[in-house]
Symmetry: C2
Subunit: 474 residues, 2 copies
């Protein structure tokens, strides 16, 4: 039984891996993963030596929410939902899985990350990868040509998880989309306004919203000399510029995607450009780019978009960035992505993640993205009837990560904290009211309420406490 | 190419099936299913004749929710959640899939209905079948021995769908569970109280809650002469008594499960018994049953349970019913199930469903169920530590079906309805306020508000309308 001996050897080796990690105080996540491998090897051994050991864990890349985390989640949702409703959206829901075919050909190179269900007889199914394709399927199936809808639900991607940075295999998306024929760039501008409002209200610190247009990218590729059939794949490579240096992106273009150095360099010049309405105007003067129909249309719309963004007073955070590409196949016009400036403190990201190949630093990164996809509904409609759509998706897990760390700070008091240092903490963190229950208050059956800002104090009978707090925090 | 000829023949036959159904005006669901089969056959043909046709639909047994349906869903959830919160529950969430092994051996004969994910490398996963097993896994993983939690989420079963009756393959469960060591029957009684409150508040008409105890069933099986190893499988057969006549259940026991006629008949006598506390007392006098330790413990607890139910004033709807078995393996004590008396009008159930083999009539049936499962957490704990648990699951889809039909009635007005008939409709359906906007009101810039019950009318300036309605509907 050579197999058995090999297996026993593998178990011994894996046991050492686990012991080493434990002695090095590696992250719980890392240790759990290696322990799981060990247990699986033992299970393979079977028989007396390796009695089957059950592994108690959630599936890789997924998490439970405990009650405290649920409270944060509900708070975030309520801010997002009230913004969506303020902008006139209704909500819908779709099943967690779709016919496999419904998702086929919509996600480009990311399609390999789709979870398929096992063929147990009947239809071939896949878990939804986003909420946009199910929305387009919903519109086509119900022959809806006009709707403003939001949809908050979990989506599934067999990606490499980085949980402390909020990257999961099961995660929420909060989508807002506008379907229907409207005057150019008005719905697109509203989507950007919504991202702006939500990120402001969630109070996550500074952010930027990058904007570009697929037609500008395509025009740029044409002008630079990229062959037509390589537009999409080069687009995917450009999309990596937020995680990789230009030199590496260029290498991929030349070595893997077969562009000449010249062509790649010309792309490199364009994708380094950033600006606002002025950049759109300047590029409209670019003799090559303005001759390209696609680029001309995209740039004209970009100029118009910025004029609406100015009316909406959001241009302080919006940047026209020619390096923004977005990976998904279905975009046809404007695309955008919001990035938080804040980084997660090093203490909560594991060494493994910091050294990860595609993890340059530990910035929280993209928290919202979207764009125009005028062709997607038509792909589902039996007669190919198109319904123009534009939308945005808020990626809530990274926001949860930040909010959970904030909430953690709120309960991390000192042991035996002095009253004064507690009050100081409230002033620093903007807590509006303090309830003080000292010996005197206990004796009098009251609670002392202190307004942190004005330092006023008032004794409130216990029976009136809830009403009083409500009144003062409205 | 005999295969091709066969396929063309099959396509021809299937085409006739579809045409026949259409001419018979069969249900949309039924036609869609046959059309899907036809398209699949055509796809198999491939080549020029059968160019691949995309089938635009949701996966079998699933549905979209449109904005109107979402409004109903949110209303139902808010009633249920506020009841759960009133009873002191916090909420948690778990991933939609678990390790396949986590679900193994928990559901008895129903395990065949579990959706597995495809093995794409990595862990073997399954979609959750209920929220109870993930809850027990959560408790064991986080070493929690004490919690009152609710969880509202979708679960997945590869069952035979009957959509107009609210039976889907993807459906919501609203679960409330109490984990922890408490005095006998108090948490169990609270779960029943919650079902009672929620079904009352949802205003779905009359209902009954059947109660039994797994220990009583096991004792009864022992006393009747069922061999130990057949307890679970006979339990599954007894569970079918709500859908099958006793004669058919008996046949299954004798022909499929190998009981003797005598044994089956003795079971038949017991399972016809229904009552309240009195029945528990009477069975405690049954010389055989009271000698059985399991049955004695179960009956003593049943008596105690009814004394609490009396204090909670819910005994008018609760019946101790010896035929209630519930299919799942993990129950260890009290079990219960709530059944609405209301039936869905024939017009909305398709002929196919009415004639379905296991569809006796079109009663909405069970809308809530649960019980005590003291051993489940221990199955996950590495050291087998047990955490006693009891809980209830509200099956919301059937309730949605009823509410959606009710809501449908609210918008089905006549064309050109007379004011008087509109007011009459309001009186009949209990709508409290009517806003009237006639020519005079338009001219005066007011809205006439009519109190439907008192028939009082008052003109309200348009600017004050919202406040006035709020004041009158508080």
């Amino acid at each position: 039984m050579a197999d058995k001996a090999q297996l026993q050897e593998a178990i011994k080796t894996q046991g050492e891996v686990v012991r080493k990690l434990k002695s090095e105080k590696a992250s719980k996540e890392q240790i759990d993963e290696e322990v799981a491998k060990l247990l699986q090897l033992k299970a393979q051994l079977g028989g007396d030596e390796g009695k089957h050991v059950f592994v108690l864990k959630t599936a890789k890349g997924t998490r439970d929410y405990n009650p405290k985390q649920m409270a944060i989640r509900e708070k975030v949702f309520s801010i997002i939902i009230s913004c969506f409703k303020r902008h006139g959206a209704e909500t819908i829901d779709t099943p967690v899985f779709e016919l496999k075919e419904t998702l086929t050909g919509k996600y480009g190179e990311d399609s390999k990350l789709i979870y398929d269900l096992k063929d147990q007889g009947g239809e071939l199914l896949s878990l939804r990868y986003d909420l946009t394709v199910p929305f387009a399927r919903y519109l086509a199936l119900n022959k809806i040509t006009n709707i403003k809808r939001y949809h908050i639900a979990k989506v599934y991607r067999r990606d490499n998880p980085a949980m402390t940075r909020g990257r999961y295999r099961e995660f929420y998306q909060c989508d807002f989309d506008i379907a229907g024929q409207y005057d150019a760039m008005i719905p697109d501008a509203e989507c950007l306004k919504i991202v702006y409002e939500i990120l402001n209200e969630l109070d996550l610190g500074d952010f930027r919203i990058k904007v570009n247009d697929r037609r500008i990218l395509d025009g740029m590729f044409a002008v630079c000399g990229v062959p037509d059939e390589k537009f999409r794949t080069i687009c995917s490579t450009v999309d990596k510029l937020d995680k990789m240096a230009w030199e590496d992106v260029k290498k991929e273009m030349v070595n893997e995607k077969g562009l000449s150095e010249d062509v790649a360099d010309r792309i490199g010049e364009y994708v380094s450009m950033q600006g606002g309405q002025d950049l759109a105007e300047r590029l409209l003067q670019d003799p090559k780019l303005s001759q390209n129909k696609q680029a001309f249309a995209g740039l004209t719309d970009m100029k118009l978009l910025f004029s609406y963004l100015e009316l909406f007073q959001v241009t302080d955070k919006v940047v026209f960035d020619l390096s923004l590409a977005r990976g998904l196949d279905y975009y046809t016009g404007v695309i955008y992505e919001a990035i938080l400036s804040q980084t997660i403190p090093a203490s909560v990201s594991t060494p493994a993640e910091q050294n990860g190949a595609d993890e340059a630093g530990v910035s929280v990164g993209s928290v919202a993205g979207g764009g125009r996809y005028d062709g997607l509904v038509g792909m589902f409609d039996p007669k190919g009837r198109k319904v123009p759509c534009v939308g945005v998706s808020i990626g809530i897990e990274r926001i949860f990560s930040i909010m959970e760390q904030k909430a953690e700070a709120e309960v991390l008091y000192k042991k035996n904290p002095k009253l004064l240092s507690q009050l100081q903490h409230c002033e620093e963190t903007g807590i509006p009211l303090v309830a003080i229950l000292g010996e005197q208050e206990l004796k009098d059956g009251v609670v002392k309420l202190r307004n942190v800002a004005s330092r006023e104090e008032v004794d409130v009978p216990r029976a009136d406490l809830v009403d009083e707090i409500k009144k003062r925090t409205l």
